[in-house]
């Protein structure tokens, strides 16, 4: 059992770094907990519980700012929750080694995504009939541009199965998989970056809940771990979002790229070595 006085600061740090990178605490928390000797399945279960807290906390602010698109969120949640249930069930029957390797691979994927999204710019496109039927359009007031941005979500027929995959990753590895969801929103469904980030945040909470339900029923939600970790990650994320506005995007990106590649390599090697 990892002592409380170690768990709390590690969780605060994970929440802090995750929030600064805009990726949630899970990607840092799980490798950190396993390094402290926590079994990877327990780490995944506790991490996904903390994801509910961080995503619900930040979604509450975004929803009140009227940027989140509730229809996009509700439509895609149908797919992410089924994915999360499937993913968490796979974790329960899997041995630890493949979980380490998969986790490391997702970190590597996020590393490339972080490099790649730097060059993305949002542009409007034609809405298909299915997305029109789903009423995936919306508008929000952009304070930076000082104008109302109107958009039409598209290719929902492709976004939906891909979101099942994002939910699968979230449930399987105990992370929000926000980077994957944002990529799907941006690249496939043509949502403006702000709408895609905030709507993804809303979806993450419900997806994490579906995954947590599987871990709860299998007795993996250990209050001794959960209490300090959830409080720590939320406190860290709260601090991280406040520091984020004071330091440049570029330095955050560079800092996070280094951490991400290091953790990815560490997790994959542990999976290969088996300890």
């Amino acid at each position: 059992m990892v002592p409380f006085y170690i768990l709390l600061p590690v969780s605060i740090l994970a929440g802090f770094v995750g929030a600064m990178a805009g990726m949630g605490g899970g990607v840092i928390l799980i490798p950190a907990l396993t390094l402290l000797g926590v079994d990877i399945k327990h780490a995944i279960a506790i991490s996904i519980l903390s994801v509910i807290a961080t995503s619900s906390g930040s979604a509450s602010a975004y929803v009140r700012d009227h940027i989140t698109n509730l229809k996009v969120g509700m439509f895609l949640e149908m797919f992410t929750i089924v994915g999360a249930l499937a993913g968490a069930t796979i974790t329960m029957v899997s041995s630890p080694r493949p979980l380490y390797i998969m986790f490391g691979s997702v970190l590597l994927g996020s590393w490339f995504a972080l490099l790649w999204t730097k060059h993305l710019t949002w542009h409007e496109g034609e809405q298909d009939r299915f997305s029109r039927w789903l009423e995936l359009e919306g508008s929000y007031y952009d304070a930076a541009a000082q104008k109302t941005i109107t958009y039409k979500g598209r290719r929902a027929y492709l976004g939906a199965p891909l979101m099942f995959g994002a939910g699968l990753i979230a449930g399987l590895l105990g992370i929000g998989a926000g980077a994957v969801k944002v990529l799907i929103h941006d690249l496939v469904m043509g949502l403006p970056p702000k709408v895609s980030t905030t709507t993804s945040n809303l979806i993450i909470g419900v997806t994490a809940l579906a995954g947590s339900s599987v871990y709860l029923i299998h007795g993996l939600i250990d209050p001794g771990l959960a209490a300090p970790v959830v409080v720590g990650v939320v406190a860290g994320a709260f601090l991280g979002t406040r520091v984020l506005v004071r330091i440049s995007n570029q330095s955050v990106r560079r800092f996070f790229l280094v951490i991400l590649i290091g953790l990815a390599a560490e997790m994959i090697l542990r999976g290969i070595r088996g300890h």
Binding site: F4, S60, Y141, G219, G224, A226
Partner: protein, 137 residues
């Protein structure tokens, strides 16, 4: 952004004022859920520290679904057996209930507020799957 320009942007098309109200309701629901959950856990931890001199917890949650978990918590609380453990477990239960209640509120909004049957159905599906995984299985 000043509130006037935002209000103007929102009122420019029909139905958006109602959406604004719903956004506020959902936002405050999420905020209250996370706030209550964190408060319960923190108070529980502090109480435990003053009672036994350390924060560490050693009890386990035997595999049960959220419904059984909630029932156990409520039973302990109503029988006067409120302990740090009850508060900490209660905080975890409230945390898990928060997104569930958000989906329930969204469904009621689509059904009663917007009378949008398509999205009432979609939200109903999400709620049904969550209910199955949290309360029935």
């Amino acid at each position: 952004m000043d509130s006037e320009s935002r209000a103007h942007a929102l009122k420019s098309s029909g139905g958006l004022i109602q959406q604004e109200k719903m956004d506020l309701l959902l936002g405050y629901l999420l905020l209250s859920g996370v706030g209550l959950s964190m408060s319960l856990i923190i108070v529980g931890l502090i109480w435990r520290f003053f009672r036994i001199g350390h924060f560490s917890l050693d009890h386990q949650l035997a595999g049960m679904n959220l419904f059984e978990f909630l029932l156990t918590e409520i039973r302990m609380a109503t029988s006067g057996d409120v302990s740090p453990r009850t508060l900490i477990d209660g905080g975890i239960a409230v945390l898990m209930l928060t997104p569930y209640l958000r989906v329930l509120a969204s469904m009621l909004y689509f059904m009663l507020g917007l009378k949008n049957w398509k999205y009432t159905l979609f939200t109903g599906i999400v709620l049904a799957v969550l209910t199955f995984s949290l309360f029935i299985r």
